[in-house]
């Protein structure tokens, strides 16, 4: 009977936290899979419209982005602005931008370039039409109106 008597104070074993890094890696992999590396800081606020007939953009390397919306910094006002790369730009600068983006691609990939127009849903159509006319002049004819998948309200 004396064999079972444990002399000495009983200590609660500490919680085994050796599996903590595994959990953290699992969360990390989730984020790595579901998100994309942000290539430029957003300077315009965009609430994308929803549409049901959207298609995924394949070959992200062949996609040029145009962001349109009210600026994020409220001191710049609420007028519609366009962001090309990392600065604000006017519609007249689109042609140069497209030519620049095309030049940085392979010869073979150039006709496959898609321009993704990400515009806030409250933008006035006049602005979008000006952008489209400029894109036509620049022969960037494959476009995609960026929208979230879903039933449009």
């Amino acid at each position: 009977m004396g064999k079972f008597n444990k002399g000495g104070k009983k200590e609660m074993p500490a919680l085994n936290s050796s599996s903590m890094p595994d959990i953290v890696f699992a969360i990390l992999f989730f984020f790595m899979v579901t998100t994309t590396m942000r290539s430029e800081t957003l300077m315009v606020r965009m609430k994308l419209p929803t549409a049901s007939e959207v298609q995924k953009l394949e070959k992200k390397s062949l996609v040029t982005y145009i962001n349109i919306g009210p600026p994020m910094e409220t001191r710049l006002g609420t007028g519609t602005q366009m962001q090309l790369n990392d600065r604000f730009a006017q519609v007249s600068e689109i042609q140069d931008y497209i030519a620049q983006e095309k030049a940085s691609m392979n010869e073979a990939d150039q006709p496959l370039m898609t321009v993704s127009i990400k515009a806030d849903e409250e933008t006035r159509m006049q602005y979008i039409t000006d952008v489209k006319q400029a894109l036509r002049q620049a022969y960037a004819l494959k476009i995609s109106y960026s929208a979230r998948q879903g039933q449009n309200k």
Partner: protein, 209 residues
């Protein structure tokens, strides 16, 4: 004297958690949950000469979709006119015919009506063969300068949905499979059968600044 084997202390891996937190924080900061889906469209090439900006279309071959500055839509052709006040009605709730159904009826013209586009027989290769199609039809979308982009996307979505449904029905009828399961050539055949003939004009500025 028996030598007890020295126990080598295990590597202290408690800093592994710190490293993993650091990596996680890094990824949270540099990434964003961006959407990479969109409505794929094709723009027409820019007009080379002045004559190309206007094209004559017969009344029966034309379906006009107008969107005004109040984001209301009006669809009209020789058969009749329909008004929609918001995106819900565009989809066909209530008593209004959905926009996509009007576009489908317009493109197909199964009843060979005089008020709908002209049907001409064309050969699309096997297994479709010779089928009457409306190869002169035009869906014209016109919006006001102050129409909101959201309504424009809703209208575009419905028109594209009409063509997608037509193509899906064509794929099922001629190839017995869904449109996505077709090969590239078969998809091109179906696309030639139902080409997207959508024309967009400059927005008129009726609503002022």
């Amino acid at each position: 004297m028996a030598k007890t084997t020295r126990k080598v202390p295990a590597l202290n891996a408690s800093s592994m958690a710190d490293i993993s937190f650091l990596l996680l924080t890094f990824f949270l900061l540099v990434s964003n949950m961006d959407v990479d889906s969109g409505l794929a469209r094709r723009l027409p090439p820019p007009p080379q000469t002045e004559e190309q900006t206007t094209v004559d279309v017969q009344r029966r071959n034309l379906l006009v979709v107008l969107v005004n500055s109040q984001n209301e839509t009006m669809v009209t052709n020789q058969q009749g006119t329909e008004w929609y006040t918001n995106a819900e009605e565009l989809r066909g709730t209530g008593s209004k015919v959905a926009l996509k159904d009007r576009v489908k009826e317009f493109v197909l013209n199964t009843s060979n009506s005089e008020q709908l586009p002209e049907l001409t027989e064309e050969d699309f290769g096997p297994p479709i063969g010779i089928v009457p199609v409306t190869d002169q039809h035009v869906v014209s979308i016109q919006n006001d300068a102050t129409t909101s982009y959201k309504t424009y996307i809703a209208v575009q979505n419905e028109v594209v949905r009409a063509y997608n449904e037509l193509r899906e029905e064509g794929a099922r009828k001629y190839f017995n499979t869904s449109y996505e399961d077709l090969t590239e050539d078969q998809q091109n055949q179906i696309n030639d059968l139902y080409p997207q003939r959508i024309s967009e004009a400059e927005p008129k500025n009726y609503g002022g600044q």
